[in-house]
């Protein structure tokens, strides 16, 4: 079985890659994840 999650999330204001304001995934392809662990975070 598979779950697909699609969602809107805040975007970075600048075009800098290291800008932490927008949504960033904390996981990458191939990672194992468990219920309740963060998929991604953002800062305002």
């Amino acid at each position: 079985s598979t779950v697909v999650l699609i969602f809107q999330a805040p975007m970075t204001e600048s075009h800098e890659d290291d800008d932490p304001s927008g949504f960033r995934f904390c996981i990458k392809q191939g990672d194992r994840i468990r219920v309740g662990q963060a998929l991604g975070r953002w800062k305002e």
Binding site: S1, T2, V3, V4, L5, I6, F7, Q8, A9, P10, M11, G22, F23, F25, C26, I27, K28, Q29, G30, D31, R32, I33, R34, V35, G36, Q37, A38, L39, G40, R41, W42, K43, E44
Partner: protein, 370 residues
């Protein structure tokens, strides 16, 4: 398994007749241990096969080889199989009540074959009366702590990340494997209120020219998407900025309950009664449009940052999806029509525009065997 069971039953019957028929009922009592041994052998074989496949995939990844789409004869053959009937029969088998003494062996065999953590199970193994009951087991309190950060989105399931990223391209496509993608519209349904902008603007700068602020956009995407769902062309339309996706695969040994990824209001549910192809890695690279062909339940709603949709996709072995927010929903039903309609069955939750509130970490659904 049936051969093994027959052999055992045959020898038991021969023994019974040599005893003058007095122990005729003993014949059937051998069937259960025979079937158990056969099941254990099968699980062992599956485990060995899985280890071999994992090793091959790992070796390929180490070499930097990305899995590509390669249609094969087996995938074509799968389309001819009555997978729904097979799935339902598998569900029936796994629902059969198992004798108490045998339950721990069965659960341990399953756990060993598919890497389940038995220490997390909420109940002693003797209390799971069938494999299905063990499969959908709850976990001990505190086994899955929910990240308390209000500015994070949590995983709804245990599993492996297959894909994640931002939806940018026209038509909002998600890559299944290298060289093969599927449209989010095909996955969620044409009536989805996915926030899109018309006109096929693939360049981010062009989208920025719209001068829509974040706040305005949050308020307006309902209008954009609901105003003209029939006129909108999903292929040429582009997803709004800040639309992300994540595809998570659940192995047979994983915990199979689905939790809420955030505080959100579930506004609608769509049920696509599609096919029930397997969803393993091999199927992913050999069966075209796997995720948009399989039976699935899509929940759509709103969270603090806007749109959210969760699609739970069934497979042959784990074919049915049960929603805690709508217990009467039945999936993996026998097909009545030869040609199944493509139109999904849709329901909007009451009250209109509010739907059902689900808190971060709440249990929402469960995948059942068969």
């Amino acid at each position: 398994a049936s051969f093994f069971a027959k052999k055992l039953s045959g020898s038991a019957q021969a023994r019974a007749s040599s005893d003058g028929g007095a122990a005729g009922s003993e014949g059937s009592s051998y069937l259960v241990p025979g079937a158990t041994v056969a099941t254990l052998l099968m699980l062992g074989a599956l485990h060995a096969r899985r280890l071999y496949d994992d090793k091959k995939v790992e070796e390929a990844r180490e070499k930097g080889i990305e899995i590509e789409f390669q249609p094969d004869v087996k995938a074509t053959f799968l389309r001819l199989l009555p997978l729904r009937s097979i799935s339902r029969f598998w569900g029936f088998l796994t629902n059969v009540e198992v004798p108490v003494w045998m339950r721990p062996y069965l659960c341990r065999a399953w756990a060993r074959a598919f890497h389940s953590n038995l220490e997390e199970a909420a109940l002693p193994l003797e209390e799971y009366s069938s494999l299905q009951e063990f499969f959908v087991r709850a976990l001990k309190e505190g086994s899955r702590p929910i990240d308390p950060d209000p500015k994070c989105l949590v995983s709804p399931v245990d599993g492996t990340i297959l894909r994640c990223g931002e939806l940018k391209a026209a038509g909002a496509m998600i890559e299944q494997v290298k060289g093969l993608s599927y449209s989010v519209y095909a996955l969620l349904g044409a009536s989805s209120f996915l926030p899109m902008v018309a006109g096929g603007k693939t360049n981010e700068d062009e989208v920025e020219k719209e001068s829509v602020t974040e706040e305005e956009r949050k308020k307006s995407w309902w209008r954009v998407s609901l105003a003209s769902p029939k006129i909108r062309d999903p292929v040429s339309a582009c997803p709004m900025k800040g639309l992300f996706y994540c595809v998570i695969y659940l192995r047979p040994g994983d915990y199979h309950r689905v939790h809420s990824p955030a505080n959100w209001n579930v506004l609608s549910r769509r049920h696509f009664s599609g096919r029930l192809f397997p969803l393993n890695e091999r199927a992913t690279r050999t069966i075209r449009n796997l995720y948009v062909e399989n039976e699935r339940v899509v929940l759509e709603g709103l969270w603090q940052e806007g749109f959210m949709a969760l699609a739970a996709i069934g497979a042959t072995n784990i074919g049915s999806i049960e929603l805690y927010i709508e217990p009467e929903l039945r999936t993996n039903r026998p097909k009545k029509k030869l040609l199944q309609s493509e139109t999904p069955e849709e329901r909007f939750y009451e009250p209109e525009g509010v739907g059902i509130m689900s808190k971060k970490g709440d249990e929402m659904a469960v995948f059942n065997m068969g």
